[in-house]
Symmetry: C2
Subunit: 398 residues, 2 copies
Amino acid sequence: MYYQNNMKVAILGIDGYIGWPLALRLLSRGHEVVGVDSLYTRKRVSEVHSDSVTPILSMEERIKQIEEKTGKTIKFHKGDVNDPDFLYRFAEETRPDTFVHLAEQRSAPYSMIGLTQARETLMQNMGGTLNLIYVMKDILPDSHLLKLGTMGEYGTPNIDIPEGFFEVKYNGREDYLPFPKFAGSWYHWSKVHDTNNLMFANKVWNLKITDVMQGVVYGTRTPEIEKYELYTRFDMDEVWGTALNRFCTQAVLGYPLTAYGKGEQRRGFLSLEDSISCLTLGIEKEPESGQYRVYNQFDEHYSINELASLVKERAKSVLKIDVKVDHIPNPRVEKDEHYYNPEHSKLKELGYKPSRNLKDDIDSILKDVFNFKEKAMSLKDVIKPKTLWKDESKEKAR
Amino acid sequence: MYYQNNMKVAILGIDGYIGWPLALRLLSRGHEVVGVDSLYTRKRVSEVHSDSVTPILSMEERIKQIEEKTGKTIKFHKGDVNDPDFLYRFAEETRPDTFVHLAEQRSAPYSMIGLTQARETLMQNMGGTLNLIYVMKDILPDSHLLKLGTMGEYGTPNIDIPEGFFEVKYNGREDYLPFPKFAGSWYHWSKVHDTNNLMFANKVWNLKITDVMQGVVYGTRTPEIEKYELYTRFDMDEVWGTALNRFCTQAVLGYPLTAYGKGEQRRGFLSLEDSISCLTLGIEKEPESGQYRVYNQFDEHYSINELASLVKERAKSVLKIDVKVDHIPNPRVEKDEHYYNPEHSKLKELGYKPSRNLKDDIDSILKDVFNFKEKAMSLKDVIKPKTLWKDESKEKAR
């Protein structure tokens, strides 16, 4: 393991919620950044008549402003990582030390709309990662792939969740095996399939891989976003947003917070700032040659009810807005109450120190959404769930 | 669980090695058979300049002969299960009680040729199974899917292999979870991905699914193949054949048997006749409504060396041909020596009784290959391995 601060990093999915602030962080730490994006998320978000609540610039404008403000250049390649020719061309041209792969369809509800969306999610996500595997094997066998997975790959088993692998005892014998996954949507399964394919690629071709099982990320700000005044996207609609984002937006608009089901579903969370720090650590402290490593990347876990209570309390305190919490039928198929205790010590052993807490970040999210309240209000009709995991009355979506 | 003998069964992949004899068996047991095939295997086998050693008729000719010999009709629909429109149309038209899904790319070496073949294998196989899931959910929620997986999904862990699920103890707590998979080729991983997707489909939509983890199937004959004199295919080339088929063909031609590596790799096997009996049992004794069940479908396990020794001995005894066994570098990435003890009691509990043994079937395979020795000789150049899991010198195949 070594530390580098002048690496060439390719961010696949640079236009996204994580990709953009990661690019700013890596630039500010002296790395060279090249980026790929098909602008898929912008397109799909606009298709459900939604938008980022925070104002985001086009990639061209983002890069132009960064050049003006820092003198540094981000080389941007518009294209789809699921297109083998594009990805081979990109890799041959840019030859990065590290690929950070964030360029996947990232919405669980989207993947559950119907067969078309299920196929798109499973195949695009798998295809991009598979292309990357072959690009590394064929062209850049010493490069490092840092791939974004999700804590949702594990599901909610009734036992502790290790970081990828665990000691199994069965019928008096022992082995060290991948932890059994059980995801809750095609999106989450697409990440499980990726993980499986990456484990295999590592075994056969010794590729150097960091597989990040990330929790739900919250927040609108990092020091670089504030310094350069270049927001990242903030989605709060039922398809592309997260529960916390929806709650904060509902609070600002004075609407009841809509908790799905009993609200005792529990998930791992971390702030945008801490996510960017963890990813940067993973990039700068590479795995050994031939190593496949898995991190569970989150700080704390909260239930939906805890999130809702906290948002309600902070909205009252910060914005003087009183909101109530409504429990609406859960559109998802998931356990309403369950054990949840994932291990997460490996990133800390690598040097990661959590810097933010949820309470402070909710305050800053509320303030940001309040600043763009008019925009949020224009999107009020896309907050409540329409995408159901299971609905016999729904006509099939093909 | 109940027993039915006048079911409507859709065999997807009816033109294949298992599909054709299964169709004959189901017809002879009074079921109605409808079939789907894209003739993919015939096309891909001819592309590597190989062919079935046994003479096989076209689907049209097969159906014509069956009609002449039994008065029964098989409705055949030429098409690709990975085409959603085709599969929906087929299901709406035929409305079967049971889908037997054998319509996947089935060659591990083919899947390892390069990125193009890896993408084709992973996406086609996943796409077909996903289409079936939605067809069942949308049109035939009470139908039963019997899906062919492979024992290769499990890999070769250092512990016993249960039938799909097992009791896990970890950090003092317990859960009943899917057994961790670790496959050895993109083909085998495609089956793992299918298994994962099917478990999820069962959980969300209560689909009735039998997932068959089948061992390597050997043999050229079933009673119906003999009765109607309608062979199924027998592949022995490096891409589409199995080790035992190659050994038998090499023996008939007087060539050394080419065992990969040390030859201590151990796999589960069963005869074609027993495979057809097991599948028929799984079709006639359906799962409960909403049940997902997994069978490990094999009789005995053998090492490659044991297979080679047995073929060598039987060739001497039956055909008076003396052959030697050569150990050639293993083109695959797999453990040369390993523990192997998969459980397989569930099919026996359902009523399955193994009827054949490997020794007798090798005799009959050797005789069949000897009967078509001229054909086998014409294919001699495609027996030895060209497809390598790992070969730095190989130019990339895109």
